[in-house]
Amino acid sequence: MTERSGAIVMRSGRPVAAAYRKKAIDGRLTALLLFLPPALLLFTLFVVLPIGEAAWYSGFNWNGFGKPTKWIGLDNYRFVFDTRGFGTAFRNNLLIIAVSLTIQLPLALTLALILAEKFRGSVALRMLFFLPYVLAEVATGLIFSFIYDGNYGLLASIYRAFGAEAPHLLASTQTSMLAILIVVVWKYFGFHMMLFIAALQGMDKNLIEAARIDGASRWQVLRHIVVPLLYPTIRLSIFFAVVGSLQLFDLVMPLTRGGPADSSNTMVSFLYNHGISRMRVGFGSAIGVILFVICVTFAITYKRWFMRNE
């Protein structure tokens, strides 16, 4: 924008300057005092302070009533790492990321490449695929807890049609996470697809045309021109997959509540089940702090390494 970025000057001495300039400075101050505080206040009060307080509370053994008094140092962190369920939750988060990268992302990319072209029904299909992303996680979870239900569910009906006994996917430590992963893909692939479609539509068509004229095959164009041009979007898509995994909670609750035997917790649902619903404020805060460190470290490193130019 403009080159001068002067600080607000509130000297009492009045240099001979254009009258409007002084007025503009006063106006600036008024505007700043009016415009900035609400945002800063809300943000500080409800975002920054709680994070700081989480660090403070995590040093206490506290059930949330009254004031924290029983200081136990870093014990809560030890308790968290000693709880087997936390390791499982962490592993599950990694699993979600892995599935996002190996299944969801290729699926979304393939669909985007097909649906970016205009043909009858392409827009309708795009909308259909995007629809799950708009639906609430809780409702999605409930829909699938019906699909998976061993007595009345769709899956059970398919098994019965073949004369087999239906598996209770959500009730086994072996399959509960698998069941959730399927729902994750169902719900989020459309969003990633839309990211890719948006990128494809913004792409310079001349490059592709030129390559085709030069005799490149469709596959070569895809491999050497289109996909490289999509790299920024792919990096973005990965970023969202990771961030989404780290906050996944709403979907887990209606499906399994993190069970059985803590087999399908994410870190946030672990925080809810073992921290909030038991009102172990210190323990829960320690999980929050760990989650915070993971999120911030990831976001900063990823941005620095992979998204430097964006």
Binding site: N63, G66, A171, A261, R278, M279
Partner: protein
């Protein structure tokens, strides 16, 4: 934008309107009862109370059992918290008392408490002060479907020992019948097995020693053995398929539908299973049997010892005095008899148990009266966080993801962490 503005105005108007309505005393009463037939009686009780006390309104709020347990700590911290809350007494109650969120109602209740079962009132007394009144006591035992037992050639009245039970399970399985329905997702129905085995194996002394950290605490021999015996049962695969995904209500419905032969139940579930069955009738009175929890070999506890609950109403801090009056009214002779007559509760009002009409519940009432050691549910008695770990660990034994030894250790660790 205009729409948004209109909505915001409408919203603001709504909030104000909601604040202006209450001119009389309102008693907010939070319950977790799901059986519509029972709730109907409660509503009548509330209306009767309002009729007798002009200017008082009783407002019923409902939360489902699991949702209630998960929300309770936060509910108690809200300034608009309900005045009357459902409670299982025990260590959870103690924590709430320590937190200072409950009202001492000793004076408000006065001598009235003498009309109620002393043991039940004692459960709601902490350091000599009364914080609530009990309206129901219960026993944990196996309720069973007599038809299904007959089909498998099992006589329920002959099941006295743990081995008898294991035999019955084998026979039922051989006959193609699911032996036991259990709500594994809620976990506490599974903790009954482990806890009741501990009550049988060690009796009161073992529990008290564990609380003091003696004999290895909850990692001690009694509790490890409980886990091992539970594992014997689990290894027979006695539960319905997918039991770890069933909530207790679903399991009760499953039993009520005649799809499983047994359910390790709280005595009043005999009524609940009817409400939750698909046909709303469930297993009828004459087909429903009761087995006291069997005695394992080498048990040091008495056969008369019981595991069960004491349910009552707490009054929260700062409640109007009408809340106490309502709780007293709720445990009055008439109301207790009305509920007992339909076999919804084992009443706490002395003499009201005479109104129980089903042999099933009369028997349970007798058991409880004869018991010298009535152990409250561990998940309530051990306080909010340790109790939940008992549930976690026993569910893991049932799911095969923890050995009895690991489970006992997990519980003892939680007990030592104490938060």
């Amino acid at each position: 934008m205009r729409i948004v503005r209109t909505l915001a105005l409408a919203a603001a108007g709504f909030i104000m309107a909601a604040g202006a309505a209450a001119a009389q005393t309102t008693v907010r009463w939070l319950h977790i009862e799901q059986n519509p037939a029972q709730v109907k009686i409660w509503e009548e009780v509330a209306r009767n109370f309002e009729a007798k006390n002009p200017g008082v309104k009783v407002e019923m709020q409902f939360l489902e059992n699991e949702a209630y347990k998960a929300k309770l700590p936060t509910i108690l911290q809200s300034k608009d918290r309900p005045h009357i809350l459902y409670s299982w007494a025990g260590g959870v109650l103690k924590t709430q008392v320590e937190a200072g969120v409950l009202e001492d109602i000793t004076a408000g209740v006065g001598d009235y408490k003498n009309k109620l079962s002393a043991a039940a009132v004692e459960a709601f007394t902490v350091d000599g002060k009364l914080y609530g009144l009990p309206y129901n006591v219960s026993q944990v035992g196996f309720m069973y479907n007599k038809d299904l037992f007959a089909k498998a050639g099992v006589d329920g009245t002959k099941i006295k020992t743990w081995d008898d039970l294991l035999d019955a399970v084998k026979k039922l399985k051989a006959a193609g019948i699911t032996p036991i329905a259990v709500g594994g997702q809620d976990k506490w129905p599974l903790h009954f097995y482990w806890t009741h085995l501990a009550v049988r194996l060690g009796g009161k002394p073992a529990f008290e020693a564990a609380l003091k950290g003696q004999n290895g605490g909850f990692e001690g021999e009694t509790f490890q053995k409980s886990g091992e015996l539970m594992k014997q049962l689990v290894d027979l695969e006695p539960f319905q398929s997918g039991f770890l995904g069933f909530k207790n209500q679903q399991a009760l419905g499953f039993f009520g539908d005649g799809k499983a032969a047994m359910n390790l139940a709280i005595s009043h579930h005999s009524a609940t299973q009817r409400a939750l069955a698909a046909d709303k009738k469930g297993v009828p009175e004459d087909k429903l049997g009761w087995i006291d929890f069997p005695m394992p070999a080498g048990a040091k506890g008495q056969p008369t010892d019981t595991l069960g609950g004491v349910n009552g109403w707490l009054v929260t801090k700062g409640s109007p005095k009408e809340a106490v009056e309502f709780v007293k009214f709720f445990v009055s002779d008439d109301v207790q008899r009305a509920l007992a007559q339909q076999n919804f509760i084992i009443p706490t009002y002395k003499g009201a148990e005479a109104a129980l009409s089903a042999a099933f519940m009369q028997n349970v009432a007798k058991n409880i009266a004869a018991s010298n050691y009535h152990q409250n549910f561990y998940d309530q008695d051990l306080g909010p966080s340790v109790g939940r770990v008992v549930n976690d660990a026993t569910a893991e034994i049932a799911g095969g993801s923890m050995t009895p030894k690991q489970a006992a250790k997990a519980i003892q660790d939680a007990f030592k962490q104490g938060n």
